[in-house]
Amino acid sequence: MTELWQLLLLGFLEGGLYAMVAASIVLVYKSTHVVSLAHGQFMAFGALGFWFLLVKLNLPLVVATFLALGFAGGFGWVIERVAMRPLIGQPLFAAFLTTFAVFLTMDGVFQLILKGESTSFAAHLPRGAMEISGVSLPTTQLVSFGVCILLFVGLALFYRYTKIGLGMRATAEDHQLAQSTGVTVRSIFSAIWVLSAVVAGIGGIALANVMDIYYPLPYLGIKGLIVALVGGLDSLPGALLAGLLLGVLENVSAGYLDPVVGGGVKEVAAYVLLLLVLLVKPYGILGLVLIERI
């Protein structure tokens, strides 16, 4: 029983990390209808920047966090200006493939910087584990999960109360209607990319707190995409729900199926879940159902 609880809780905490990555992809999709692969790289570069500022330059934690997030946001702004804006009005698939080109370019730079090694800033942050009636939870995971909850609450408040958040929601409904009510859709697009890159940066820092910074880190962006699809591409609560679901599913299935089939269940659980969800509910658990012919 303790083993099950251990798997469930660890999965829950990991799911929070997936949810953050998915949230950044959902943010972009909601307003621009572009599905982005590039967010894995915003994550990786946010974590890398944080590592550089905290470990190499020995800045205080708060300063390092803000600077790293500012760096990630600036990155998002540059990508929007250089790669995404020329594609407004082009087929959405071209935009998707452009984010993929951005992913490849930045992946090359990421590998050049890392030179095949792995780094970690976990030593500079609280470590250890918490025991609750036999279930041990690493502090790093708990901190990351706390960040995730704060992030989702913050996003909800942002969308509910700020003017720019409302503008983003209006843009998500209809670009032309939003424009005619005085929302500058173009600057909303910029703001969306900055915001989502910052969210991805937070996710990246939280992820790198749990795992090391090495070459597979950007590829977790693909997993975030899977989570976003399972939850529904335009739904933030869906991203949270699907992230937690996937985290739990991965850990429990790996814990119980790995001895039977010989390992590796954790890597495919997400994809099997995605295929099943796409067959049953093609627009995700909480996604908006479009009525169209296939």
């Binding site: 594609l87 899977i226 495919v268």
Partner: protein, 349 residues
């Protein structure tokens, strides 16, 4: 179909001919002769480069059929290639079939397997289907790593093909296996896209509703496109396995599938010559990066001793972004413009 001035088709045969004029026959024969003489005059390195090029062309031709003509984006091409490689390896080593029978069998087996890849297209399309094929990639690779018949993480050693006592065990000898198959597959693809099936694919791509109204069974043609594309991937994978003489899951990564899509875009969607342009440009670029990177490492010490992998990715990503933003129709479109301007010289239009 377009004809130059003063060229008239007088019979039905001429109208339907695949290669129309004696000049074109001559050019084709000459270029095939030159191609087949390459191993006699060029270095081993160049021949093995051409081998990988030819195999990549076969894979991307398959991708062109499903993505460029039928409009269903597939990120599963590397996994389907792996299925082809493994099935041919199993057919030759476990069942003792000859290579020449195993190749088409591997293609057909992969095609049938690819129907799984096409199955979700019943309920989803566009981007959702693309991500579903990513999922299929990972599930396939997991299966290959964990099934007993595929040798788990050890992979399968593969015998080189042979005719009688002649063994195709070097890259120069394999060249004469791979290149004819590549030419045959190119002919097949080029011919397919002007048949009823090919035109149905284009109709599905351009407007699926209109296609259905005109009596095209959408699901049937989408599955057919996946079958044909996976047939190509399977044959290419089988050739790859017999060229490298080992089957291992690490040869077929998602990154490979992403490169194939990139080559397709650089070359131009919906054009068979575009496949050649895209594959050759991207691969040559990759080789150039490999050549340049040692010098770069000595000039700029901070990039590290082995910057080739990272630089290659970046260069490819930038080229891809430039094509997507600047010339979404790819090199094939530029090629058509160039041909037209030469033909019309000295007039502008």
């Amino acid at each position: 179909m377009w004809r130059p001035c003063r060229t008239f088709d007088e019979t039905y045969r001429e109208d339907m001919a695949f290669i129309r004029t004696p000049l074109r026959w001559g050019m084709l024969a000459a270029s095939v002769m030159v191609l087949l003489l390459v191993p006699a005059f060029c270095s081993y390195y160049f021949v093995s480069f051409l081998n990988t090029l030819a195999i990549t062309i076969i894979v991307v031709l398959g991708l062109q059929i499903v993505t460029g003509f039928c409009g269903q984006v597939s990120f599963g091409q590397a996994a389907f290639m792996a299925v082809g490689a493994y099935s041919s390896a199993v057919f030759t080593t476990k069942f003792g079939l000859s290579f020449w029978i195993a190749i088409p069998l591997a293609g057909i087996f992969t095609g049938v397997y690819g129907l799984i890849g096409g199955a979700p297209s019943m309920r989803i399309k566009g981007f959702y289907l693309a991500v579903a094929t990513i999922a299929i990639h990972f599930v396939t690779m997991w299966l290959l790593l964990h099934l007993a018949i595929t040798g788990k993480s050890q992979g399968i050693p593969v015998e080189p093909p042979r005719i009688g006592s002649f063994v195709f065990d070097t890259d120069e000898r394999m060249f004469y296996v791979i290149v004819p198959i590549m030419l045959l597959m190119t002919y097949g693809a080029r011919n397919l896209v002007r048949t009823r099936v090919g035109r149905a694919f284009v109709a599905v791509r351009d407007n699926d509703l209109a296609a259905q109204v005109m009596g095209i069974n959408l699901y049937y043609y989408k599955l057919l496109a996946f079958f044909i594309s996976c047939f190509y991937a399977g044959v290419a994978g089988a050739l790859w396995a017999h060229l490298t003489r080992v089957c291992h899951p690490e040869q077929f990564t998602l990154l490979n599938a992403l490169w194939y899509i990139g080559m397709l875009i650089v070359g131009g969607l919906g054009s068979i010559p575009g496949v050649f342009f895209g594959v050759i440009l991207v691969r040559v670029l990759d080789e150039l990066v490999l050549l340049v990177s040692p010098y770069l490492a000595s000039w700029l010490p901070w990039v590290g001793s082995a910057p080739a992998a990272g630089l290659g990715l970046s260069a490819f990503g930038i080229v891809l972004a430039v094509f997507l933003i600047g010339e979404p129709r790819g090199l094939a479109h530029r090629w058509e413009i160039m041909k037209a301007s030469i033909r019309l010289y000295p007039f502008a239009h």
